[in-house]
Amino acid sequence: MNNAKPLRFRNGFVVPLVELPHLDYAEFSESLLAEVAADARIASYFGRPLADGLEIYAILAHDWNGELSLLRTQVNGSFPSLTPLCPQLHLFERELAEQYGVRPDKHPWLKPVRFHKTWIDAADIWGRPHGKHPVPGDMEFYRVDGEEVHEVAVGPVHAGVIEPGHFRFQCHGEEVMHLEISLGYQHRGIEQMLIGGPHPSTIYLLETSAGDTTVGHATAYSQLLESLAGCESPLRAQAIRALALELERLANHVGDIGALAGDVGFLPTASFCGRLRGDYLNLTAELCGSRFGRGLVRPGGVGFDLDGTLPQTFVERLKILKRETRGAIDLCFDAPSVLARFEGTGLVRTDDAEALGMVGVAARGCGLVRDARLHHPFGIWEGGFDTPIIELDGDVFARGNVRRREINASLELINQLLRGLPQGPISQPLGPLAADSLALSLCEGWRGEVVHAAITDAVGRIDRYKIVDPSFHNWSGLSMAMRGQQISDFPLCNKSFNLSYCGFDL
């Protein structure tokens, strides 16, 4: 073994680019595969165009050591794909191919990801007409042939008010043999717009990169900028961020359980959870004026303080909400007709979840302990979080039950935060950002781990900003969950993952 020992860091690190060794691609892939074999998983994988080729950065998470390792290499034109040996890379490599016109050789599933023009002046590897915007969903779908096989195409316009995405099912009767998901309809080019920043608009772009994870993405970004500037936000600000993050988790989890109940036609929980979700969102609005937490988290601290009688109001409201939430949710989880729908539906095996690099609620529902608050603590959680929640079954019930238990845990965490709210300022000015450096920040959003990475140029401006929403890892999990299932159970499975379309499309 002559592979270079990769550099290891903790969450929130900044490393000057000069300290990062340039590996040649063979060395890089060997080290990467060795790391993955030693229980690391891909947290982020992205390219940076140089004058003479493309630099690839791989960030791997060693969860149980609480460490992240970093590898860098350079490729030109085409390179051997690592996907056959490390399936969790498949979307990342397709992304590189689409963004920079490079070709991962022998990639088993080389199709466009978001349907946009190449970012640099390079030929499109699928030969799509140069200079014209590609049509989303215009690709060769996987097809199963046979007389009794039929194809069902759903979306991008759906019957409900949800985000656009295209789903292609290959079915035998009511049974799904394969589901292929094609997204990209909401691609806005956020990462491209961030280059040259931080601009005044940067924080707003990040807050809307996945609207339901506003606090998650804004926290990840703020932490990133703080580490690049070499300062730390005040403790009170960190506590308020954590509080907002848990409120976001509560609102979304409660809404998800309501939606799960709605999908199986179980009326009471669907109705009550819809209302309760609004109550949690309103709490966030009390704090910062926006139900989704817009404007709350800012680099250097938070924009709004939890002052006056607000903490007391929160405690009282949460006491009532806790009782009502438990009542509404237990009703659903105690109903045999609901359990008959949830249990055994949409199974993902633990091995598959691990191979696909799933994160967040979906991974924890498959028995994988993956929680950035525990493994890669940030903000107030450093040393303060010890209760990750896992379920072993990997079905809709498991994902629902992870949410139910996390709701209870989050209510407890918020209570603790409100009781021990540190005193002090809520914000402090940021200094200039470190030049020629790479910074990384992880944050456990409600859906799973949000990973932001940034590389700065010689004057401390952002040269490359990479966002990985948990949905990016987990959409393939949904495809796997549908294999051999009833097509009529798809909406239920989809809801149990509840992944973001815009967080994927960026």
């Binding site: 039929h150 194809e151 069902v152 195409a153 759903v154 759906h158 019957a159 409900g160 009511e174 109940a261 999908d263 199986v264 036609g265 179980f266 009326l267 009471p268 669907a270 109705s271 009550f272 209302r275 109903a335 007709s337 609901v338 008959a340 729908r341 539906t345 009833q486 097509i487 009529s488 159970d489 798809f490 909406p491 239920l492």
Partner: protein, 304 residues
């Protein structure tokens, strides 16, 4: 005769959309909401009727035949069935077979109009509808056989005559109880209610009946909704008469008792929809086969 016919149709045409209103109101109460007004279904029908037709270029006349047949069939079928103690305007020996297969006719046209669009969803919905209704059909026939055994005729009017009250108190009471359950389940299946189908869902992949009418709009959709309401009332009439076989002899109180029975049935459907989740699709045929066995058992009990 003419007056009886007019009264029969007036009851049906005026009261039918109310049933859906009662169901929605009941569900709203369980959901902690005030809910839409009781007359919402009427407003919806009026709104749809004022709209124009939109037809896809790929469809043919079959596409419109579905809603038209779907509306006329329940009207025809209603003439064969007594509304509570009010006798059926048209009655002849063997009309029960016509009654059952009139609904099969409307189903055929609904399915044909769904297939006419060429959409994969509608094809899926049509396949499900046909599978489930061909499993529900034997149950309905066995139920009618039980009733025929208990009466001395083969017309629905005789089947649901005043002898039912004495039959409930005789040995046949158990059978009547069983077929009442069977009829209720058939009613839920045929009217695409929870736990078999979810009339409120917007998820095209899980729908059964709703997905077949996705492409209909305006007056055509109005006809489908009105036809569905009429169908529910006609099938409900069978159930209500069986459950409340009393009669006062005066047409007004009989009519009111019948309507009260229907309202009670609507509340019951609303309660079932509020406290149960939908069945998984593969479970639906199993339940229907179970219902069929139950109705056979009821028949065995009265035959012995």
């Amino acid at each position: 005769m003419i007056i009886r016919l007019i009264l029969h149709l007036a009851l049906l045409l005026l009261f039918a959309p109310m049933l859906n209103g009662i169901i929605i109101k009941t569900k709203a109460l369980f959901g902690g909401r005030i809910g839409a007004p009781l007359l919402q279904s009427y407003y919806d029908l009026a709104r749809l009727w004022r709209k124009g037709f939109v037809f896809s270029r790929t469809t043919t006349w079959v596409f419109l035949a579905g809603p038209v047949v779907g509306l006329t069939v329940p009207l025809l079928a209603s003439l064969l069935i007594p509304f509570g103690a009010l006798p059926a305007p048209i009655s002849f020996e063997g009309d029960l077979i016509l009654f059952v297969y009139l609904f099969a006719l409307s189903r055929f046209f609904t399915v044909a109009s769904a297939l006419d669009t060429g959409s994969s969803f509608e094809g899926m919905g049509a396949a499900r509808e046909v599978t489930f209704s061909c499993l529900a059909e034997p149950t309905l026939l066995f139920v009618l056989l039980v009733l025929a055994r208990l009466s001395d005729g083969l017309s629905l009017d005789t089947l649901l005559g005043s002898h039912l009250l004495t039959a409930w108190h005789s040995d046949a009471g158990a059978s009547l109880g069983l077929i009442l359950v069977c009829l209720f389940l058939v009613l839920l299946v045929e009217n695409s209610r929870i736990p078999f189908d979810d009339p409120n869902t917007h998820l095209e992949l899980t729908m059964i009946h709703e997905v077949m009418v996705l492409d209909h709009s305006g007056p055509a959709l109005g006809m489908i909704l009105y036809g569905a309401a009429l169908k529910m009332m006609v099938m409900g009439a069978l159930l209500v008469r069986l459950a409340f076989p009393w009669q006062t002899g005066w047409w007004l109180s009989d009519a009111l008792m019948f309507l009260a029975g229907l309202a009670g049935l609507a509340v019951l459907i609303g309660v079932v929809e509020s406290i149960m989740a939908r069945l998984r699709l593969p479970r639906v045929p199993q339940v229907l086969v179970g219902t069929m066995l139950l109705s056979i058992f009821a028949l065995v009990l009265v035959l012995r």
